[in-house]
Assembly symmetry: C2
Homo-oligomer: 374 residues x 2
């Protein structure tokens, strides 16, 4: 079940003056255009607003509501909203919406028209944002898991094209189609993990751990705070995490369910060191740090990681979408503040479930060569 919202908009020549007469004409023609698809539309209400005019039309028999809005800046929006039963055809298909749009543009000599496919609103979340907050409608057809843990909202949904997808706090996290994400994060084929000691911060979906173990490292320790994420992924994402979330530990790896910061301090005190530390925390790190201090938190993670990294060790992490240069720049500014100094390389990959190109960082101490030659 869903409500369908059909959106059209029109741009007018800004010099064109819409007086009451021409407004009435436009409303009448919009109404006539809509009446090809909706029967017995009546104007229920209208009003002048601070920047234009609003008119409500009602298809009495069904409850379909149309709002027509005039903005004095030269825009008209039409929103049609109605309840659509599962299996019912839409009242106005996308093709019909575009016919209506083109008809009105030509009849009313608008400069430009735009129409969107009907938006489905209801219990299935179909819309997720890109990093730069554009809307993408996914082909989600069912929800497999939907619970709130102590730390976050956890959902696993099924996408026809991406397979099962983990959604944390309403943001797409990783899907079964996202092997490229893990392979780019770990730089498969470029970095050599054989015999190495590795620490993963976060990584609760298990995909990175699963792929790293194929490279025969000496040992991997994974620090994940949210037990529920691992249980959900173990059940619904096993094509990307294998049995690592089920086993939790063997001679080559160990998953510790705890705050990664606490364990980084512990490792540091014990003098335990790693060849690689992976920052695979969610984009908005799970912590009690207020949002404003998010960059301090990120820098703290980096500092603590370098305390447990061998002198030539590497910190590997994901950045953000290439569409967010400001965010990437801020991350790089944090890197520049680190002591001892670090240098970094970056690479990108198109991540299917993000529907965009993502940036990944590889960070290393700048004095690596000097230290290595000691």
């Amino acid at each position: 079940m869903s409500a369908n919202t059909v959106l059209l908009d029109f741009s007018l020549d800004p010099a064109r003056i819409i007086d009451e007469v021409s407004r009435k004409d436009i409303v009448r023609l919009c109404k006539e255009g809509l009446e090809k698809y909706l029967t017995g539309l009546k104007i229920s209400y209208d009003m002048l607003t601070a920047d234009g005019y609003l008119c409500i039309l009602n298809e009495a028999s069904s409850g379909t509501i149309v709002t027509i809005r005039f903005f004095e800046q030269g825009l008209i929006t039409i929103n049609v909203e109605y309840y659509r039963k599962d299996g019912d055809e839409p009242k106005i298909s996308f093709e019909q919406t575009r016919e209506l749009e083109n008809g009105l543009v030509q009849t009313l000599k608008f400069n430009h028209g735009q129409s969107l496919p009907p938006l489905q609103r209801g219990p299935l979340t179909r819309f997720f944002p890109t990093a730069d907050e554009r809307v993408i409608e996914y082909d989600i057809d069912r929800v497999l898991y939907d619970k709130r843990s102590e730390f976050q909202k956890i959902q696993i949904v099924h996408s026809k094209s991406l397979g099962n997808m983990l959604v944390l706090d309403e943001l797409q996290n990783i899907a079964e189609a996202d092997l490229i994400y893990t392979e780019t994060l770990m730089r498969r084929g470029i970095e050599d993990y054989a015999g190495k000691e590795i620490c993963i911060l976060g990584g609760g979906d298990g995909a990175l751990l699963f792929e790293l173990l194929k490279e025969k490292p000496k040992h991997v320790v994974m620090l994940e705070i949210d037990e529920m994420v691992m249980q959900a992924c173990n059940k619904y994402m096993s094509s990307i995490c294998g049995d690592v979330l089920e086993k939790r530990k063997d001679e080559s790896f160990e998953i510790i369910v705890d705050d990664c910061m606490r364990y980084l301090h512990k490792f540091s005190k014990e003098g335990r060191t790693f060849d690689y530390v992976f920052g695979d925390l969610t984009d908005i790190p799970i912590s009690d740090t207020p949002t404003g201090e998010i960059w301090d938190f990120i820098r703290t993670i980096l500092q603590s990681s370098f305390k447990v990294l061998k002198p030539d060790g590497k910190f590997m992490t994901h950045g953000n979408g290439v569409s967010c240069p400001e965010s990437l720049k801020m991350y790089e500014e944090q890197l520049a503040k680190l002591e001892p100094k670090v240098s970094y390389t970056k690479c990108t990959a198109f991540v299917p479930s993000f529907m965009e190109e993502w940036v990944f960082y590889q960070v290393q101490r700048e004095d690596t060569n000097a230290t290595a030659s000691v």
Copy 2:
């Protein structure tokens, strides 16, 4: 300039009865939630509808309009719409919309909430559909060309991530980032075009012709009906079409501006044959054929193409998105109806400007081997 439309929706337990008292409570709490971002909201109008209730709130100072809609089937939608000047911050950011959504879900014990990034409505078309009519918002930042030819509406827009993009009749056609589209259509590295004779039906963007010429064919003839598409692409898409649309003809190729059907008949009569025919027409073929007869038209194109193909020649074309199995099946049914019988192979590629996996067909006469051995 744009109108911003902010959409939220909530699902309720279907057994939960919303009487007038609880409806008033919900409206009050929605209003209070919205008043964090909008000041002086007042209820201007409300009404019972055939399937629920509608309430209009108005921020008198600015003209922001909020509609709150109750559907008796267990849905509530909230739409906020206001004019936003270029450079102005949104009145409610996506983060704030989600805060509001989560707050209301928890306070009002809704089953589920969903919110969309603010939709920008105005002279820049930012929304295009996938093959299965899901909405995708593109990072379009300017329009370079916008004209209507005798055959179609032609636009070239700029996308931050995809480069310049050709849009025909409001559908994304090809972008500068789409080399993979052309390479998959022609099966670069698999088919050998050296010394071959080739005919392109359509292909007005010039990309296929440009890439084919790099493979040293004997001759390519391209039949494109729309002169204006070629002029627009020559000007704005030269990174994908090189100088072929400027030159129009040399010893290795010729572009004929005419109806491809007319020329296929002419070639057939003259006994002119090709090693490859490419069907690179737009998805909705440009013709005076009514929509209902679209499949007849597609079959006619195929039949006419096979009349000018050498016995072992190949017809190469794009199909549709993998998300549209019914459409692909119908296309394959058309192939099955052809006489003489044909066989086909298919392959897929993720096309950046389509934002989805696309299917490409390679069609050949079934009796190829028999004929070849004569």
